[in-house]
Amino acid sequence: MSTPILSAHNLVKHFNAGGFGAARKVVRAVDDVSFELAPGETLGVVGESGCGKSTTARLLVQLLRPDSGSVRYEGKVVGPELPLKAFRSKVQMVFQDSFASLNPRMTMIDAVAFGPTVHGMSQSDATRKAQDLLDRVGLDPSRFGGRYAHELSGGQRQRVNIARALAFDPQVIVLDEAVSALDKSVEAQVLNLLMDLRRERGLTYVFISHDLNVVRHISDRVMVMYLGEVAEIGPAESLYSAPRHPYTEALLAAMPSLDPDRRTMEAPLAGDPPNPIDPPPGCRFHTRCSRAFGPCSSQVPPSHTVGKSHVAACHLNSVKEQVA
């Protein structure tokens, strides 16, 4: 892989969940997460609620400060080596809630033009740029430019959010469930827009979603998270066709079948995902894993390279290695 455009190094983020002294509770939202993004690739991030995918996104764009670990942009550590303001113009984010992420008192033109003016662009240049961007995302600036957030539909608002992220001409966009709240037919339109923009501008995406179908469609590589850790990361195709972590297998098996003749007959996992407060020792998945054995409950599984840029943190892979 060439120099990664963006990389996460041993990111850790714990949140306080009340209590004092020995009774103090800690949510281990993100625990030692590392990954790299090659320029122009799309990394899908999947996992259930509470697995730390949104916290990872926020750490990545520096909306949260990690307890330890670092984020590097083109090899430079963000903060000490690369000022935050310069970093922000390179890495942007789109959130799930399209309404909450827009200022209700700003027109759409102003919302898109606001960022560039803060970064020193003249008002008239910024407005012109905003008009071009609104046009690019499929909203006629003369019709929609003067409107406020409540005057747009969810799909239109999400287009504005994408235009706003593009206003800095960023290299990387982190999309945190950006299409999840949209209706299916509108979601498909926005996915098409994202794929077109990626091609035109050579953008790199981090695409977070709980919808495995959508992630497979848009991603080059996929990262599976479970209780704050990376369970498996690898090329979308090999990860979907030959998963090497039982949790990935379970997630794939839990997808509703679209074939009436091959309905799901058995739920792959019982119960709900455990609480990220006090996660289980050893492999965090061992409490729900049907194939757990000896070391799973006590030893943290190391990351096994199981294929070309395909890594899985599961003890089963070490058994396979010994056999081979």
Binding site: N192, E237, P256, L258, M265
Partner: protein
């Protein structure tokens, strides 16, 4: 009695020409001329996007819509009862007794200040003349029916003490406590994680078979509909646009909107390629276009699409689609096969 000859079994639900209007200027046409039937023990999924009228249709069957602001016309019969004529105690007997409903968010549907056991027992006592201890025994039995682990302990739990999936099971237990003939499910798995969603879907499928209930399942997710239902109805802007068996609709959708929905669900899509997305957005329900509501977004639209009533294409096995394009294509295919 002529109906009897057409249908071998009396339908559990018969909805004829149902329209629902909400007061406003102009009024909102939430449901428009919807007709369908549900046989006992049959599972029908109503598939549609937000604002398509699927939840409103469901709520009409329990008369849950605000009376003063709603005008309902048409005919709604559940188990031979005219639901729209029910009043007072008869209506209360219908709700939870004959037909029962589960919702998307169990933390809103359950009462936070009563334990799960108390809530189920209260319902049972209201509908059946039994003692409190018997009702509690029934509550325990119901928690076991929905496969809640250590059910006896969970009986005394408040809703907030349970996880999301467990709460959803508790709500299903509550809905089924009086053995309704009809279960109405309004997106019951939408708020759940994928691994929990499939558990709840399989549970509903098992319970439906065990208890032989009719189920109307409302969802926006085709995958969910395929997992649970026998028949599928696709709804758009307050109207049914296509119905048929799940197999038929999934494999051979005739209405352009159904086709668009399937494409948007990435059925058979090659990763990385552009999706065959339907452009635009649904029309506002207080200003529906004349004729086909989907015409403004449809690639096959023509002048005939603006004229009501629209032609209906019918296939075998209760299949139909309300579409100019589909009915002409169907007629052409029929002419070819005879010639």
């Amino acid at each position: 009695m002529t109906q009897e000859t057409v249908h071998p079994v009396t339908p559990l639900v018969r909805v004829e020409d149902l329209s629902v209007r909400f007061a406003g200027t102009p009024p909102v046409h939430a449901v428009n001329n919807v007709s369908f039937e549900l046989a006992p023990g049959e599972v029908l999924s109503i598939l549609g996007e937000s604002g398509s009228g699927k939840s409103v249709t469901l709520k009409t069957l329990l008369r849950l819509l605000p009376e003063r602001k709603t005008t309902i016309t048409g005919k709604v019969e559940v188990d031979g009862q005219d639901v729209l004529a029910l009043e007072g105690r008869a209506l209360a007997d219908h709700r939870g007794g004959v037909a029962s409903m589960i919702f998307q968010d169990p933390s809103l549907a359950l009462d936070p200040v009563y334990t799960i056991g108390q809530q189920i027992a209260e319902t049972v006592i209201r509908h059946e003349d039994i003692s409190k201890s018997d009702a509690m025994a029934r509550a325990l039995e119901m928690l076991e029916v929905v496969r809640i682990p250590s059910a006896k302990r969970r009986l005394d739990n408040y809703p907030h003490e349970m996880s999301g999936g467990m709460r959803q099971r508790a709500m299903i237990a509550l809905a089924l406590a009086c053995r309704p003939k009809l279960l109405l499910a309004d997106e019951p798995t939408t708020a759940l994680d994928a691994t929990v969603q499939i558990q709840i879907l399989l549970l509903l499928r098992d319970l439906q078979k065990e208890l032989g209930m009719g189920v109307i399942f409302v969802t926006h997710d085709i995958g969910v509909a395929v997992e649970v239902s026998d028949r599928l109805a696709v709804m758009y802007a307050g109207s049914f646009v296509e119905t048929g068996s799940v197999e038929d609709v999934i494999r051979d959708a005739r209405h352009p909107y159904s086709k668009g929905l399937l494409a948007a669900n990435l059925v058979g899509a090659v990763p990385g390629t552009r999706l065959d997305a339907v452009p635009g957005a649904p029309p506002p329900l207080n200003a529906l276009p004349e004729g086909c509501s989907f015409a403004p977004r449809c690639a096959h639209a023509e002048t005939a699409c603006g004229i009501s009533p629209l032609p209906i294409w019918t296939g075998g096995n209760g299949r139909w689609a309300r579409c100019v394009h589909a009915s002409r294509a169907g007629a052409l295919a029929a002419a070819e096969s005879t010639s």
